[in-house]
Amino acid sequence: MHRQSIKALGEGLRAKKFSSRELTQQYLQRIEALDPQLNSYISVTAEQALAQADAADTRLARGEGGPLTGIPLAQKDIFCTQGVKTSCGSKMLDNFVAPYDATIVGKLHADAGMVMLGKCNMDEFAMGSSNETSWYGPVKNPWDTTRVPGGSSGGSVAAVAAGLAPAATATDTGGSIRQPAALTNLTGIKPTYGRVSRYGMIAFASSLDQAGVVARSAEDAAYVLQAMSGFDPLDSTSIDRPVGDLVTGLGQSIKGLRIGLPREYFAEGLADAVRSRVMDAVKVLEAQGAVISEISLPNSPLSVPTYYVVAPAEASSNLARYDGVRYGHRAADAKNLEDLYKRSRAEGFGPEVQRRIMVGTYVLSHGYYDAYYLKAQKVRKLIYDDFRRAFESVDLVLGPTTTDVAFALGAKTDDPVSMYLNDIYTIAANLAGIPALSLSCGFVDGLPVGLQLMGNYFDEARLLNAAHQYQQATDWHMQAPKGFE
């Protein structure tokens, strides 16, 4: 059952071929048996999962519920779940049992009736591209357990790729959905900024953070994203605009779809093998009727430096609330208030989080604001304008998701800047706020390669449809890692 699509699982449940309890139990057993190799879950909520499964079975027995009722799902441990530890991958929140549910948790579980299997491992406060900054230890890539799964949503992708969940929620501030999806042969979508509520999603960089989903196919992703999306009055940045029907939108032909290949995304730094898999995928899409052209996003090279001003600045502010007073880690035997703050924070945050807090504090501090923060906001506008211009002539922008396949655990942990360059192709979409998706387009030496599609504002349906059409013509996404089939 764990290799079936979400659509098939839903049909099976409604046809009473199996119950949600049976399905949930199977996943729980797989997690128990296989996750020790991966470390993809921080918490497994077996008892609650079975209770939710029973509730779903009751709903299904009455002929109620929707397409997702009774289907298991893993939550990234960045989303607050009432009564369940919500750690955000940090020692700071190791003792934090959230007293409320994130909006998307309510939408997916209470409303859609999905079953929460547990909370997935992640880079600490979503800061990382390899899942090695987690307080709970690194996550291993199921395709090669000596390699990283990407980050920050490393636990979510490892769990789904290994069949320890049909799909998982994830978040993306600079590529944290797309980069790990690419490295694990999954489809991951970061919708338009504001499409999915941020209420209850622990903030990293507020103007960039966006929740989405990782799944084995565009179709699976469409089902879950449909249930997560929509207006939330508790989030001032939530868009009050109809989501549209992402699932039924999947059947469209892509004949005439205008796809632009930005030359900056194929320049120096891209591994040849990755380039060749991406170009193979372009040929497939062209064969399906897409119209391919080369475009330019001239300010792309500035996206990483822009991001590493904006994101740390916002993060340094968002993480100021962790002070050991109202919740979270508190240093023992503080001599005075200052000591309480400084030690609680130094003990609670890992080195990468501390680095980013310091960078952010520095760029916002007196005398540096204009040179760094204001300048970065202006360059952000240039990057946004690049996309505005591009979408005047193309419908989608296509490129690689990452420069290379998954790297070895520990390879980049001592060099923050080379780690940051992992997100070179994914960051621009966050800066502009546009939707973007990564899907698998083949393998290099047995390791997955990701293809990125970026769309215009609110164009999630078009993105998912293009990915789905590609997946109709290819079967990369159907492959499972050895030992986790």
Binding site: F96, V97, P99, Y193, G194, S207, P233, S236, T237, I239, D240, N299, P301, L302, V304, P305, T306, Y308, S316, A320, G324, V325, R326, Y327, G328, K335, L337, E338, D339, Y341, K342, R343, R345, A346, F349, Q354, R355, I357, M358, V359, T361, Y362, S365, Y372, L374, K375, A376, Q377, K378, V379, R380, K381, L382, Y384, P416, V417, L431, A432, G433, I434
Partner: protein
Amino acid sequence: MSLSIEQVRQVAQLARLALQPEQAERYAGQLSAILDMVDQLSQAQTDDVAPMAHPLDMHQRLRPDAVAETDRREAFQAIAPAVENGLYLVPKVIE
């Protein structure tokens, strides 16, 4: 742009992070490398560019002025490190 150890200490103080002496040195090197990378921004021509704070071209939505929350002190303080008589406790604040 390179940061001195003293600057790292000042930033850590502003951010309320206790630093061990050997950490300050390591952070000085790493933060300098990050700021060097960030310095590419200075090449960009941005004279007439309006800063972009936010990806959405929207304005602030307003909430009706109504009390929508009930007292949940017990639940909120169940996860607090130190409380007494409903108050959060901290070492004495001296003004």
